[in-house]
Amino acid sequence: MKTTPSKKLRRPTNGLASQSESDGSRWNLRLYVAGQTPRSLTAFKNLKQICEEYLKGQYYIEVIDLMENPTLARGDQILAIPTLVRKLPQPIRKIIGDLSNTERVLVGLDIQPRSN
């Protein structure tokens, strides 16, 4: 499971924990998955790539496996798997899918303005 696959992935934390991540927590992202499906793995891989490329040093990814914690889906109103939730900066944005379309992910995260 990918809840702690790299140093950038943490368990859900409280405010203190994200503060201790220094200014690297400006982008607080949460990826909801359900089990270790190929699609989830793809989504995580894509997300990591995008973050490394565009948000290096300022992001914080939290992976939540709903198979283990189905109740957590309620909080962020998750329906689709995988779903990426931008908790910070506000407002909350949701990106569903395996994040294979980088451009749309960047638009969805407001890293890049909508081109069309």
């Binding site: 798997i81 779903t83 749309r104």
Partner: protein, 589 residues
Amino acid sequence: MIRPNRRNSSRPLNGLQKEPTGIPGFDEITYGGLPAGRPTLVCGGAGAGKTLFAMEFLVRGATLYGEPGVFMSFEESNEELATNVASLGFDLNQLEADKKLVLEYVFIERSEIEETGEYDLEALFLRLGHAIDSIGAKRIVLDTLEALFAALPNEAIIRAELRRLFRWLKDKGVTALITCERGDKRLTRYGLEEYVADCVILLDNRVENQISTRRMRIVKYRGTSHGTNEYPFLIDDKGFSVVPITSLGLAHKAPTEHISSGIPRLDTMLDGKGFYRGSSVLVSGTAGTGKSTIGAHFIDAACARGERALFFAFEESQDQIIRNMRSIGIDLEKFIKKGLLKFQNARPSTWGLEVHLAMIHKAISEFSPSVVVVDPITNFLSVGDPIETKSMLTRLIDFLKSQQVTAMFTSLTSGRHELEDSDVEVSSLMDAWLLVKNIEHNGERNRGLYILKARGIAHSNQVREFLLTDGGIQLVDAYVGAEGVLMGSARSSQVAREKATEVDRKLVMERKQRELRHKQELYEAQLVALKGQYETERDAILRELEEENQPQQVRAEQRLEIARLRQADNGEVEMKDNGSTKTQKGTMR
């Protein structure tokens, strides 16, 4: 995630198992409820009552049948839902606290969502599965699943996921209710009926003549028979109720017990017994003929026997009826206080026909009266056309008969029609028909009543006059004079006239008797006088006779003396004595 399907596996080959909804009427038209362990589609337009139907299915399941439920809402938040159904007496928060209900609000905001690449709705499944497992739910509701189509851009994925969802629900063995919006040409906007093929219920709220009527139809119910008509239904302070009374037939029992009409002399006209219990009685007549009063008498008698009665008034308020009936000595108020009598007053135009029927049906089911008065049925014509009205009344009568409720319907006959032609044309449905009419004659109107028909009762064929008195309706003696049936002042003047003639006749008789007596006395007196006269005359005659006799004797003596003196032959003398006087005389001379 997938539980062994206990219900499906344990089901023997005795047809489809059904899950009662607990919604009055619905379980009757579906012969048991929704298909157990299968999804059912409830479709209808905005405001058709889908959410309420679904919610009541869950709440009744939890409270009546001990089956916990999950309500997954895509439209209303838990708080909104709880508030909305609180007016129906459903305490969702309490049910949640008792672990009988889980409200799962799924909120999706299209503008918040960006779609990149492939995804599925596994999170929805997980949430639903978790909710079901947390309380062991047997019933679930998805309201309105189609919100997914608006929220998620990829329709192909949604369709694939819905197909999976329904199969998953079946595998879980939960009885699911899925609500969806009605589409223009299809049952549902997104064609969900393709996925849910077991049972489809259509809710409808039509407006005709500015009056809305809710109707329900079972479009499809695989593997079982069901009522196929449109059934009216109600949503009121006690929730949903369907009126299943289109499904009744002519199988009702016919009791032989009689029930008084409340007017003793009317009972006499009905073979001395009154109407049959459970029969339908029509009282028709023109305005102001006392139809409602006959109804009030009927109710009064029923309540006095301790039976329950329901008065459906479509023209007057409860207070007005009580006041008016008190003026003729019928006190209905005391029965209301005793809880034996209930009024249901409504203007016909308040609701559509079907709703009226549903309200009547509901009121009767709740109050279970033995006697019902509907006053008047003709007012329904202002809401529906005659055919609809007749159909509605037919169903009402069928229902009343099935409940063995004796019903009296009043019908206002307008001047345009024949009196025998009841305006609603329901007379053929009625067991007894009283006709009251104003008989205008001699410058006055009088009330006449007659029994046009009374099935199975030998009844009088007389037209009877009746009066509204302080003591209620009084049937007056039928006065049949030489000029036919007389009524009102004509009757009383005729009676007076006859009385006068009678007096005259008596006087004449007395006089004649007196005369006879006089005559007798006269004759008797005359008889006495005559007798006196006779005696006088007789005496005189006798005296005369005596006088006459005396000289003769004297002469005979003298003759004898002479003979003696002459010393005549004795024989001669004897001979002369035995012979005629003439000879004697002649000889003597």
